[in-house]
């Protein structure tokens, strides 16, 4: 446990030393907030709150896909990683440290979204709803963390960058994150429940408002978690086998 924290600390230190990486992960959600939410939600607090929840989900997704997908792929290319494996610790502290650091960075990247929502829109949440949303962030981070790990462990870093960029926008768009609940174009309403983003955003909506979660989207989210965990686990073991067997 102590070692996991040490690893998390140095992981964060490495990230913070290149601040543009932090800015990058916070930029997309904040910009989307400014361009798509602030001008269009008007003075309806419910729509503004739902839209903010969508952007939070968007942010959780993009941060995790990018930081794990690209971060892991880049680390795998470095000889530092195998060196760490000669130290008297297993792979667990490194892994746990990475997840801890990732969660913290995810929360940091949410700050601009939340600040913009509070200052520039009518979005409002109660204290308990805010806490529920915070907990939901951790829950919805799971599938996207797994997706990032699956990308990072199965692809070389150049390919990982491309794949991360290619998947994140269709997932956001197709999951209906860029539209108010129930107001997406028809084809999106049709495909959305089958994407992990939909189940995630519905959980966020339910946390901050009075939103009935679609059973199909939730089941599919569970399916995605299992599927992505299997792919990530497979890629991790295959990678271990290649480099360390």
């Amino acid at each position: 446990m102590r070692l996991s924290l040490v690893h998390a600390r140095y992981q964060l230190l490495e990230t913070v030393r290149i601040p543009i990486a932090l800015v990058g992960s916070a930029f997309f959600p904040a910009a989307s907030m400014l361009f798509f939410v602030v001008p269009f939600t008007g003075d309806d607090p419910v729509i503004a709150t739902y839209a903010t929840a969508s952007m939070v989900t968007f942010s959780v997704m993009s941060t995790n896909i990018f930081q794990y997908g690209i971060g892991v792929a880049e680390d795998r290319a470095q000889p530092w990683d195998p060196y760490l494996r000669t130290l008297p610790a297993g792979a667990a502290p490194r892994f746990a440290g990475r997840i801890l650091a990732g969660l913290l960075l995810t929360l940091v990247s949410l700050l601009p979204v939340v600040v913009i929502a509070a200052v520039a829109t009518e979005a409002r949440v109660t204290g308990p709803a805010f806490l529920a949303a915070l907990g939901t962030v951790v829950v919805v981070a799971v599938p996207f963390t797994l997706m990032g790990l699956a990308i990072g462990y199965s692809l070389p870093s150049k390919a990982a960058i491309v794949v991360a960029q290619v998947v994140f926008f269709p997932l956001a768009f197709g999951g209906g994150l860029l539209f108010p609940p129930g107001d997406s174009p028809g084809f999106i309403e049709a495909i959305a429940p089958y994407l992990p983003t939909r189940g995630a955003v519905e959980l966020m909506w339910a946390a901050v408002g009075d939103f009935p979660v679609d059973r199909l989207a939730l089941v599919m989210l569970g399916v995605w978690v299992v599927l992505l965990a299997a792919i990530a686990g497979w890629a991790y073991r295959r990678d271990e086998g290649r480099r360390f067997s």
């Binding site: 102590r2 070692l3 140095y10 030393r17 000669t86 130290l87 008297p88 360390f244």
Partner: protein
């Protein structure tokens, strides 16, 4: 006590056999050099011993356990490749980070001081010179107060002064009872540091003996002198004249000198030198046929005279007993196994 051991360790990558039934024992307190051309299997052997890779067959042991078990790695130290240091972290942070993995690490200032880089603690590793990175990388091997360190080409990229300083550090560690397995491309480095040398080629142990014994495998000595015309002398394998100095290569320097004196020819500046480890290394690694090694063809040093020439093709020359006794008998670091007069010399011709 044997700190690390490989028993018939074999490692294949797909169809390629990188390591072929390698036997190796590292007793406590030894400083062993690992020599071999690129692709000989040095890195693979090291990676098996530190738990980075699994054997395809055979086994490896570290402190009596499996190197892949973190507990077995508590008392080892290893150098990372200097290109891998996290560029954004400061030198002090890298040391602290690695220290956190050990129960009783060397304090940061003491460690950096020992390797002459205490003034760099605040610098990011990405901004260090190649030599500075190398020193940091070697320093990291010693953070956890190891009993056994694996140094993979520790002085590559260092200038002469820095290399000597690092050698002193390694000698000091060894003098304090530490065990070292050192791979190097510099034969000079192995000759300067190691008592025992293991030569790898094509994934097999070609020789495992004291440095001087390996050198003697070639069996040739260089007798240099300044003289006018020399009479024909028995036992001379080659004659070179460079800058007025005559170099005679012989397998029996003692007899050659006796013959020289008896011949009555006038000479000056007589010098007798053993052939270098480099000569031996080239002779051992170049005469490698693709035959399978035969376990019963391992030869002992004392049988060397009779069968050096025949043993070469079998690829195995081993005298563990001698290597160990020599290393232990001379704790001051001087391993001498100069052949006694009258002892038959190996008859392996050298390429000169």
């Amino acid at each position: 006590m044997i700190l690390a051991r490989a028993v018939q360790a074999t490692r294949r990558y797909g169809d390629v056999t990188a390591l072929d039934r390698v036997d190796l024992e590292l007793p406590a307190g030894e400083l062993v050099g690992l020599l071999g051309p690129n692709g000989a299997g040095k890195s693979t052997l090291l990676s098996l011993l530190v738990g980075l890779r699994r054997v395809s067959s055979g086994r490896v042991e570290l402190f009596g356990g499996d190197p892949r078990d973190p507990a077995a790695r508590r008392q080892i130290g290893m150098t990372p490749q200097e290109t891998g240091l996290p560029p954004t972290l400061r030198v002090g942070e890298v040391v602290d980070f690695v220290s956190a993995h050990y129960a009783d690490p060397v304090p940061r200032a003491e460690l950096l001081g020992r390797f002459g880089i205490d003034d760099l603690a605040r610098r990011q590793t990405g901004g260090l010179s190649g030599g500075q990175k190398r020193r940091l990388a070697v320093a990291l091997a010693f953070v956890g107060r190891p009993r056994l360190v694996f140094l993979d080409e520790p002085t590559t990229g260092l200038d002469v002064t820095a290399r000597r300083e690092l050698w002193d550090g390694i000698r000091q560690f060894h003098a304090d009872g530490g065990t070292v397995l050192l791979s190097s491309h510099y034969l000079e480095e192995i000759e300067a540091l190691a008592h025992r040398v293991v030569v790898l080629g094509h994934g097999r142990v070609l020789a495992d003996d004291t440095v001087s014994a390996i050198r003697d495998l070639v069996g040739v000595r260089r007798v240099s002198l300044v003289a006018p015309e020399l009479p024909p002398l028995p036992g001379v394998r080659a004659v070179e004249r460079v800058d007025g100095i005559t170099h005679l290569l012989t397998t029996d320097a003692d007899q050659l000198v006796r013959d020289l004196v008896h011949s009555g020819v006038s000479f000056a500046d007589l010098e007798i030198r053993p052939s270098s480890l480099e000569d031996a290394f080239l002779a051992i690694t170049e005469t490698q046929p693709d035959t399978q090694p035969q376990p019963d063809a391992h030869m002992q040093s004392d049988a060397q005279a009779q069968s050096a020439a025949q043993a070469q093709p079998d690829g195995q020359v081993q005298s563990d007993a001698q290597a160990q006794s020599a290393a232990q008998a001379q704790p001051d670091g001087q391993v001498q196994s100069e052949p006694q007069p009258g002892q038959p010399q190996p008859a392996q011709p050298a390429d000169v």
